[in-house]
Amino acid sequence: MMAGRKAAWHINPAYWFLAPALGAIFTFLFLPVAAALLLSFTDFDIYALGNPDFLRFVGIQNYLHLLQDPLFWKALLNTAYFALLGGPLSVAVSLGAALLVNAKLVRCKGFFRAIFFLPVVTTLIAVAVVWRYLYHPRYGLLNYGLSLLGIGPIDWLGDPHWAMPAIILMAIWKNFGFNMIIFIAGLQNIPEHLYEAARIDGANAWQQFRCITLPMLGPTFLFVAIMTMIGYLQLFAEPYVMTQGGPSNSTLSIVLLMYEEGFRWWNMGYAAAVAFVLFAIILAATLLQLKFRRADDA
């Protein structure tokens, strides 16, 4: 009897250390994700919010409805546009900045690195407000700069063709510093003797970049590409503040649609289906990139 009691007291202390964090993650992340899946099979709406008795199980109705909702397709296309154009552009700018800052001839690297990184730490909402004014068709700084180059005024946020490019431009400005840091670290891990050998063989700067820098950055690229893709597919605050999804829904994103459906109109069952489609897309995109990478390695 004593032995049994003693054993009960001897819970592995590791579990005491894990319990608070894992308990919180389980209750406030894993459980809600599982519940979201269930929610997406119900017609949870504002009436159910008041009285759960109104809740009905509707099977895959929400998903079927989604496929016929032009707004959902619009949001999906917009999000894909943002991620597929903005993502690679943003990675390219990051790589460019990393190459510049990391160039051997450049001193005060820390200074430039800090400047390029500054937009990353700013509050998205605040800088989105700032960019709203920079994009002003008459008084905005951007159109003024373009007019000096002889380019006519563009109604950045008011023209359905330009609103998404405007949001992409702002997102690149806000985010490129993050990936730049990762790329700089990747560049510094490339052994110098590879470049020396290439120079002896007469390779020029472009050939060195294409045949040494790019392949050696492979793992870094994978990480950066996945993280950027995941982040960009979750576009929300920029259109919320700058365009409210307009004009004519040209900047409506998947997450903005989910927010509007779920927390504005309280169609939570439908919104959960939207959220799960986003999840599925992110999962598929990640697996696809990992697979590409493996195929490359093989």
């Binding site: 964090a21 809600p32 979201a36 800088v127 407000v129 929300f236």
Partner: protein, 273 residues
């Protein structure tokens, strides 16, 4: 000669990109000191002919900004302290303690990193509403108590603590919690600073979740208050810029002072296993 030319080219490119990067922030700062209406001119001004503090005064007196500033500071500090404690305990356990299923649990957590936060938001809202935490700070603090990324960061760092050190303390009769508190935590100080910056900035900058949870405007955090202010004062460019400056400034100062830790943490998080 060629070396000289490429140096000029490099520095030229760097200077132009740095200027372009800073321009939006610089304009924000300048416009915030301009008299009402004078940032809306053509051509746009990039200098101050007359500086004024009226927008800052208006924000602090009429528009209650000090209140939101305090809300954000308080909330971010609380979340940071709790998250540091919970994540460091779990991160240390994953790095240095033996228990059944250690690797499986850790791998599950890492895989869960790709779950977008938005997927959990709807049921989380319902759960917190059921518990009576909606429209209170608990609704923000509780989901922020632990993060997978935080556990990962601490674990990566704690792996480098020598086992012999921990064993020596055990032989001396120190309890497990004592070892964590007075041996492991001091050793992990650099990564704790890093995680503190990440958590503080993340909570400070967060917009979507506070927007959902906080409905009472006296509870608003600074970003939510700013977005709300934009609704009423969209024409008052200079006032909005002053609000943006006040929102951005605290996190920028934190970053500038603790830059070293921030970058180090970013790299530790970015380096693959």
């Amino acid at each position: 000669m060629r070396r000289w030319a490429s140096k000029v080219l490099l520095y030229g490119l760097l200077a132009i990109s740095a200027a372009l990067t800073l321009l939006p922030l610089l304009w924000m700062l300048l416009a915030s000191f301009m008299p009402a209406g004078s940032s809306n001119t053509y051509p746009p001004r990039l200098h101050l002919s007359e500086a004024t503090l009226v927008h800052y005064t208006a924000l602090f007196t009429r528009l209650n900004l000090a209140h939101y500033l305090l809300n954000s500071a308080l909330l971010s500090s609380i979340v940071t302290v709790v998250a540091l404690l919970f994540n460091s305990m779990a991160g240390y356990a994953f790095a240095k303690l033996n228990f059944a299923g250690r690797n499986q649990i850790f791998r599950t957590l890492l895989a869960a990193l790709i779950i977008p936060a938005q997927v959990s938001m709807l049921p989380l809202f319902l759960l917190l509403k059921h518990l009576g935490f909606i429209n209170t700070y608990w609704g923000i603090i509780i989901p922020g108590m632990a993060s997978i990324f935080g556990i990962f960061l601490i674990r990566q760092y704690a792996l480098s603590i020598p086992n012999s050190l921990l064993d020596a303390a055990r032989i001396d009769g120190a309890g497990e919690f004592r070892i964590y508190w007075s041996l492991v935590l001091p050793l992990c100080k650099p990564i704790l600073v890093t995680l503190a910056i990440f958590t503080f900035m993340g909570t400070w900058n967060d917009f979507m979740w506070p927007l959902i949870v906080l409905t009472d405007d006296t509870l608003y955090t600074l970003p939510v208050a700013l977005a709300n202010l934009l609704g009423e004062h969209v024409q008052d460019t200079e006032l909005m810029m002053a609000g943006a400056v006040l929102t951005v400034l605290p996190v920028m100062v934190v970053f500038m002072v603790l830059q070293k830790y921030y970058i180090a943490g970013l790299l530790l998080g970015g380096v693959k296993e």
